[in-house]
Amino acid sequence: MKRYILLIIGLAITTVYLFPLYWMYLTAFKDGTEIFQYPPSFWPRNPQWNFLEVWKGRDMGRYIWNSLIIAIGVTFLVTILGTGCAYVLARVRNIWMDMALFAILMMQVLPSSLMVTPIFVAFNQLGLLASPRFAVILAQAAKMLPLYIVLCRATFVQVPRELEDAALVDGSSRIGAFFNIMLPLARNGILITSVLIFLQSFGEYVYARSLIAKNELQTATVGLQTFMGPNANDWNGIMTYAAIYVTPILVIFMLLQRRIVSGLTAGALK
């Protein structure tokens, strides 16, 4: 009996917490007059289907495409650079590795909004701002790389050392052992961490806003920010935009929730 009372309380708390999400979807389905009605309604009286209209009207395809390019670029770069590093940090234990890990942990905490000033000036001098999406990829990859290394390292730590040693005894080279034994065994962790990096970069805002000058190269976050402008009152449009943008993120997250959670906790605290 007590367990079911707890379940009901649990459901109630979760409902309260997720109310903002419900309100986003609800507003997206309401029509233009219903959102300004007082008292507000908690279920759409006259459900609208504005998604296509907003998608076309706000040119969302282009914004989402730019966000995708940046997220894919960051994920690719981070995976290539970080996987080997995570493996070495998990495998070798000495004072140098401890120092390297410490330095990496320190770089994980640098706020983008503070790093963007020197990055903007330096990229400007180097001419990198001529290809602004690439510039955002470079900057965001530097932000995400430490997180990727820390989480992936936790995966490699869990792979038994004996398997690699056995391959080396059998005459495999270090390179062979890494690609044939270690990578396949750590595949799940690498995949989950990459998804996490992808989702985080898909919602990137500071670098895109600061480094990209042309509107047609901007990301979905900046598109939403422009939509919200100073005197915005098209709230069902804005919430429709937000719903289109976050639904894929939420779906991917819900599908992989358990694995992301376990990877995240292993990396953050070990």
């Binding site: 909004s113 963007v116 903007f120």
Partner: protein, 300 residues
């Protein structure tokens, strides 16, 4: 040459190669910008000198200019309030939820997982949603507060300078609860059951068990979560950009947003980098505390 190839194939050269790939990248795009930032904070950098490699040095003038600006102390206290209040509420609500979902009932871990939806969403979108929830005339929060009798009049959350900062804090607490809850749940799960059972046999009540078992055993975990909270709160930019943009009249402006405003809105880039240098130093100190507290947990 052969030797190099052999060590990369079979020796420690392989480790060094893999490690240096990532480290060189990080040095180029993270460590170098920090150093460059320090240099810029000692120079005059504005729209005219931004592309030049040979800018005049002005010593500590930028730091002096920053600290003598009238809004500096307001921004400082806003930042302190933003960080302290966000963490107090994130931590206590997150801890409460972690304790609640620790109990044995059907669907507990599934419901806990749903909370993370708030954490995975882009902060700018979360800001947009809260801007609509908190809207003065048609916002649902005002409706709920007024119909339940908490306030008589509408609160203009985002345009009233007295409450704008608190509006941002509320949204930030919402965003931070899942992460706090998750990390604290992991800590709670690692406390052995039999410690509680033994205490129960000795006649310790629920509160007594919490005070004398849970809190002491969670000390390292709480330290880690608090320092991570400080770090994440100081990274928070998107929410402020979506909700108030530091306004009205800088009443909700915090250091990390101010630094960006100086650099990208008024183009006083050297002032922006001076603020940035000070904040980065602070974040690094907090991060060192965090790393130490996780190490501590390791040995124990």
């Amino acid at each position: 040459m052969q030797g190099i190839i052999r060590t990369i194939r079979d020796g420690s050269g392989f480790d060094i190669l893999l490690l240096s790939l990532a480290l060189i990248y990080l040095v180029t795009f993270s460590a170098f910008p920090i150093i460059y930032n320090i240099i810029m904070s000692l120079q005059t950098v504005d729209m005219f000198t931004i592309a030049s490699f040979n800018r005049p040095f002005v010593g500590l003038q930028n730091y002096y200019d920053i600290l003598s600006q009238p809004i500096a102390s307001a921004v400082f206290w806003n930042t302190v309030k933003f960080v302290v209040l966000s963490i107090v509420f994130q931590l206590s609500i997150g801890f409460g939820l972690a304790l609640f979902f620790q109990q044995d009932f059907p669907g507990a871990s599934y419901l806990r997982g749903l909370f993370l939806a708030g954490w995975i969403m882009p902060a700018l979108v979360v800001g947009a949603i809260w801007k609509w929830l908190l809207a003065g005339d048609f916002g649902v929060i005002n409706y709920i507060l007024m119909s339940s009798g908490v306030t008589e009049d509408r609160i203009f959350w985002l345009s009233n300078p007295d409450v704008a900062l608190y509006a941002v804090i509320i949204a930030n607490v919402w965003l931070g609860i899942p992460f706090n809850m998750l990390l604290l749940s992991v800590g709670l799960a690692s406390i052995p059951r039999d410690v509680y059972e033994a205490a129960e046999l000795d006649g310790a009540g629920a509160f007594e068990r919490f005070r004398s078992i849970t809190l002491p055993l969670m000390r390292a975990q709480l330290g880690a979560v608090i320092s991570l909270g400080v770090i994440f709160t100081l990274q928070q930019f998107d929410l402020i950009a979506a909700l108030t943009q530091g306004g009205p009249a800088d009443s909700s402006n915090v250091a990390q947003y101010w630094s960006w405003q100086l650099s990208f809105q008024t183009y006083e880039i050297s002032l922006g980098s001076a603020v940035s240098v000070l904040m980065i130093l602070f974040v690094i100190v907090v991060a060192a505390v965090y790393v130490r507290s996780t190490r501590h947990e390791h040995s124990y």
